[in-house]
Amino acid sequence: MDIRSPAFKQSARAALSDAQLQRALGNVRTGFIDKRRQAVDALPEFDALRDSAKAIKDHTLAHLDLYLEAYEAKATEAGGHVHWAETAEDARRIVLDICRAAGARTVTKGKSMITEEIDLNAFLEAEGIRPVETDLGEYIIQLRNEHPSHIIAPAVHLNKDQVESDFRRVHDHLPAARDLSEPAALLGEARRVLRSQYFAADVGITGANFLVAETGTSIIVTNEGNGDLTQLLPRVHVVVASIEKLVPTLEDASQILRVLARSATGQDMSVYTTFSTGPRRPGDPDGPEEYHVVLLDNGRSSMLGSEFQDMLRCIRCGACMNHCPVYHAVGGHAYGWVYPGPMGAVLTPSLIGVDKSGHLPNASTFCGRCEAVCPMRIPLPKMMRHWREREFERGLNPAAQRYGLGLWAFFARRPRLYRFATSLAVPALAAMARGRGAFRRLPLAGGWTRHRDLPAPESRTFMQQWRDRSAGGETAAARGPEGLA
């Protein structure tokens, strides 16, 4: 997939004036947040489970080489084939070779971000193999020749009338007069069309939410059941998983599963959590005859031991984008590569390089909501700041910004002068806003005010107010991180 991240500003501007997109994004703002909240409130141990989940991944990452070896030994013992891929290209090659050996013409696919990352579909097509996405959202965007705009809700940028016209265009063997006005009719049609594909496919490709070292098992977590049919019906099942998907034991998977579904869709448990270990056993009436796992590095090992290691705890739940005001405003495509939202703003520069990811680390208001909801307690704002620093060090940002930051740094290193300057500036800005509380336009700040208002400061600086409040005993910190959500 082409990298369009450096065009974030232009893409964001286009997204803001796209009425269809803005209507669809309303579903993110309303749906996910309340459901997560209710599920979290119903489980008193939720925060303790987050700590537990974080500790499990930290331990696993610190011993990743050993867990990879243990996993490989168990998966092989169960009759699976484990392949190692350093790069996206290596992974594509390995999958192609497996497909060729199976004589595959059609492959079905369960929803997987990792195969988006390695751009598998375009590659297979170019090699004469037809990939069929089976997750409803993925199927829709495949028909439209698009990429997912959300890691768990790939078609969240679309409205149902758009889906209807795509189905009418592509399913032209069906009667033109059929009623597709309800989402249920669209779902039913996709179900019927895809049923025959599962049986026609020679190879089924899925990702993995977890790989369990104790048993050599891969786990997928889904709601539709398409991933299960994808891995059950074809003769060959290929799992593509990046190396940080490892967990030590079944208990460890269980801990993280408890925070995954709640953070993602607000369910206590997703409908299907499927543990797969090796191919069909003697006497089994169904199941794939071959089971392959492609372990992909593609940049993960260079995040280990760096300030971005924490990002490898990510379980792709999507909560950070569901709660992100920037994502709410522009949607996922504006981020210009596979992973959108706050997790994408951190991961994209790690995987493709900060020079290719443009302004992504700046696609944030630093409101902190992403970190407050992240089940794996990943310090996303801090890591975006790290990227901004690196961007700055390498002179990748525009001259005006560099000059402005330099000026700010001059004052910031001189606290007394800084306080004196802000004590003059703040009342001046407050007076300019004339009690309206916000600026629609402000000289020199057009980049900010073009698409949002700049809140006007109250007439006293933060430091002045802080002194008053501390004297009164109330501090913002007492609300705790969830108070931000």
Partner: protein, 223 residues
Amino acid sequence: MSARDTILQRVRTALGAAGGDAARSRAVAARLAEAPAGIVPARGRLDGKARTDLFVEMAEKAAATVQRVRKPDSVPRAVAAYLRGRNLPAAVRMGDDPRLAAMPWDKVRALEIGRGAADPDDEVGVSHAYAGIAETGTVMVHSGADNPTGINFLPEHHIVVVDAADIEGDMEAVIARVRAGFGKGTMPRSLNLITGPSRSGDIEQTLLLGAHGPRAVHLIVIG
């Protein structure tokens, strides 16, 4: 160097770890051997009837329907009643699970039972759960000679028989059961945790039941 060795070497270098570091190996071996449980929610810590009740409540919350019967012999009639109640043809698909096989299916007249792997045309599949999880209203089924996995996914309706004695409070207890049943570190090919019928929210985030898997999951709880 092979891709495998390159990746493992990179990981070791990044972590500043030497290959033969005995302390790290011991830490990993201990974790794999002991499999510590972590935080187990208090919610599932119930016994007997209270546990079964929680299982039923959570399963219904996940949009499954539940019917309770006193003994295994009542299951075939409960299945027949379900089919009649939904105007379904009197035909089910099931594996050779001995617990199901021991039930008096001949008592219900004209019920056609298909054996072996599921067919795309099957409307109703019947499975016997290996265990239930009260915490989330989940049933656990696994593959094997007597348990075709397709029965869980292909039919429109999936009926799962659960013995109340197999319902555990939480997932950790079910994991312990799997370990005791299959041996430490060993798994059936496919172990499926199922919580309600399949669903999708992919069109405008409107939740719809019946995506690619069953549209309805009906649990028959014995005891």
